[in-house]
């Protein structure tokens, strides 16, 4: 599954960091506005909001009054501006299906999704990176071949099927792990966490593996490919020629250079982890935002759909920004402004 290859540096050399970040921020704002436009179009053109709010027996005059009150008769730019302002204040209206403010629903569900995504990402990294390094360094070993074969099966298994198979084996046949829900949670302020109880942690295992497995295989293949690429470079050859130990070359020189692109992909994958959480949450009936979104699609609950869309886009943009900044931390070529002194 083509991981983007040959990742370019996020900015041309010599561009000051501040200017670069400002440029990326502007881009991000543009992206958010585009997404907001899509969300707004959903509101306005898909289904009639008024129909969804009032009963069958409401008179036409009442409907018209409601339209006026809601500002639905205002010109398009005014309506859009209002949508953006509201969205910026996390006000997405009332869910058609739940009859509650969408933002309340999302806040209630967010901890479940975020904890699941975090656990899955952690699993993917902690297992995927070492496997990638191992397979790159021992290219012809049988264990490497086994890892690669497993990874190919891993990317050929749809997330939902992984979940089902895990449930079948560990819940149905072995009866070791729970197959649905978050288990026991603890409330800390508005955040409900499952990380503090044994029950909650046990409930997290299968969903986290399900969600993380695909990312893990991706990271493994990426680390392997990048590492092989780096091992072929001149500076690694030169490091060998200087007689550095294999350990220093592989884990000092090669790994650090490998990590630069890996950070990007991993960061960007974090976004897709949140998106794929939709599937995992459905399989495990995990009470997160994804489950809410799927139910919203089934019932055409537009405010929830729009809000989820804007929220996910926001998370994506945020992650992108963080990845860009991380680049500066890792790669000195970007950190130091201007090119060469010297001759």
């Amino acid at each position: 599954m083509g991981a983007p290859r040959g990742i370019r540096s996020p900015c041309s050399r010599g561009e000051p960091m501040v200017a670069f970040i400002v440029r990326r921020l502007l881009q991000s704002v543009l992206v958010m506005l585009t997404v907001a436009l899509v969300g707004f179009a959903l509101f306005t053109y898909v289904g009639d909001p008024v129909n969804n709010m009032v009963g069958q027996d409401t008179s036409l005059a009442d409907r018209e009054r409601l339209r006026e009150e809601l500002g639905l008769n205002d010109p398009f730019p005014v309506q859009f501006a209002r949508f953006v302002v509201n969205a910026a204040q996390a006000d997405f209206g009332i869910s058609y299906r739940h009859g509650r403010p969408v933002e309340d629903l999302l806040i209630e569900r967010a901890p479940a999704t975020l904890e699941l995504s975090f656990a899955a990402g952690l699993f993917a990294l902690v297992v995927g990176v070492p496997m990638g390094i191992y397979t790159a360094l021992n290219r012809h070993g049988w264990l490497s071949k086994a890892f690669l074969t497993v990874s190919l099966i891993g990317i050929s298994l749809p997330t939902f099927l992984i979940g089902i198979l895990l449930i079948l084996v560990f819940s149905v046949w072995l009866g070791w792990l729970p197959s649905f829900g978050r288990g026991e949670t603890v409330q800390i302020g508005w955040w409900s966490t499952g990380l503090l109880t044994r029950d909650g942690l046990v409930a997290l295992i299968l969903p986290a593996i399900t969600l993380g497995l695909f990312q893990m295989t991706l990271i493994m293949r990426l680390v392997r490919a990048e590492m092989l690429e780096v091992l072929r470079t001149d500076y690694i050859k030169f490091a060998r020629a200087r007689g550095l130990s294999a350990r220093a070359i592989n884990f000092g020189h090669a790994l650090k250079n490998t990590l630069v692109p890996v950070i990007t992909i991993t960061g960007l994958q974090l976004g897709s982890v949140i998106a794929f959480a939709i599937i995992t949450e459905t399989v495990f009936q995990w009470p997160g935002m994804g489950l809410l979104f799927i139910q919203a699609i089934e019932f055409v609950d537009i405010p929830v759909m729009a809000a989820y869309l804007v929220l996910v886009a926001f998370l994506f943009v945020l992650i992108n920004l963080i990845v860009d900044i991380l680049y500066f931390v890792v790669d000195p070529r970007l950190r130091v402004q201007g090119g060469g002194a010297g001759l």
Binding site: K237, G243, L244, S245, P332, G340, A341, G342
Partner: protein, 334 residues
């Protein structure tokens, strides 16, 4: 005569590929004396770099030394375990590669790369290594070395980076440096500086150099002796002065005619007709015979050994002792 520092005998480097075994280096022998600069010239694909890589044990798989021996200060090093060979690299044999822009790890400061190399081979504390690194950088001509220690490679120009690379090659005081096209990637104006620097440092440190290049000009300026490779084989070896001014092998002759001279510049640079045969299709007999203006029957049939003709030696039937010099005339007569 003193004991040679490096002694290569009948070195054969092969690459088993799925289309058959390629012989990149075919029966090459030469010696390097302590402190001597031996130039190795030839076209690309002549086996120069593979020879260098074979000596430091860095042939890229599937390349391997098929036969022959390599001795360093009397010790055979072509059969050493990877770890023992690693301890020789950098410590006893340094290396300088072609492209200074890609030879340095972009994510580490040059100071760290220097101290790391020193501390791998020498028993130094971090502070001692840093002091030594500063001194070395000064020696290779980097201005304000103490300030530049914590700079990253991209903050140096190409010429400066090659100076850093040379410092890295020298930092554990090796007896021999293998310099593979050390100036090819540099600006012409900087090439001479780097060549001169390499020469001066090696004289000062009494370090021998195996200088691999395709540039006869660099050889003429720098080397003490020169080995000419053609098609993976040694064509001629001898003191630089003799090889440049009185070449024995017709190939060397052609090569020398290619050097532009400042005075009596010919209207056009001479060219050797044709091109070097591919390693997949090495002709029988002398590898050069299809392009050689003096080729005769024996050249096609038999591969010439190295004939001594002091001060040089050439692998050419023209220099066979049994008076084969008459042979080409025979051919022209018939």
């Amino acid at each position: 005569m003193a004991e040679p520092l490096l002694s290569v005998r009948d070195l054969r480097v092969t690459f088993p590929t799925r289309r058959g075994v390629l012989t990149a280096v075919d029966g090459v022998s030469f010696d390097i004396m302590p402190g001597e600069i031996l130039g190795v010239v030839g076209e690309s694909g002549a086996g120069k770099s593979q020879t260098g890589a074979a000596i430091i044990g860095l042939l890229e798989p599937p390349g391997r030394i098929a036969s022959g021996t390599i001795h360093l200060e009397g010790e055979r090093i072509d059969r050493l375990s990877p770890d023992k060979l690693r301890r020789i690299r950098g410590r006893r044999i340094g290396a300088v590669f072609q492209d200074p822009l890609t030879s340095l790890n972009p994510l580490y400061t040059i100071g760290r790369q220097l101290t790391e190399t020193m501390r791998t081979h020498l028993d130094l504390s971090e502070a001692q290594a840093r002091d030594r690194a500063v001194a070395l950088l000064g020696e290779v001509g980097i201005p304000a070395p103490a300030d530049r220690l914590d700079a990253y490679p991209h903050q140096f120009s190409g010429g400066m980076r090659q100076r850093v690379v040379i410092a890295l090659a020298l930092c554990a005081n090796p007896r021999l440096i293998i310099a593979d096209e050390p100036t090819t990637a540099l600006d012409v104006s900087i090439q001479a500086q780097i060549t001169a620097l390499l020469k001066r440092l090696c004289r000062e440190h009494d370090t021998a150099v195996l200088l691999i290049t395709h540039d006869m000009g660099v050889i003429a300026e720098t080397a003490d002796r020169v080995a000419v490779l053609y098609g993976g084989r040694l064509a001629e070896v001898g003191p630089v002065d003799a090889v440049v001014n009185r070449p024995l092998h017709p190939y060397t002759e052609g090569l020398m005619a290619c050097i532009p001279t400042t005075h009596d510049r010919p209207p056009r640079l001479a060219q050797i007709e044709g091109s070097m045969p591919s390693l997949r299709a090495m002709p029988a007999g002398c590898a050069f015979h299809p392009r050689c203006p003096h080729a005769f029957n024996r050249c096609v049939a038999e591969r010439p050994p190295l004939f001594d003709h002091p001060p040089s030696a050439a692998a050419c039937w023209l220099w066979a002792p049994e008076g084969a010099r008459a042979a080409p005339r025979e051919r022209t007569a018939s």
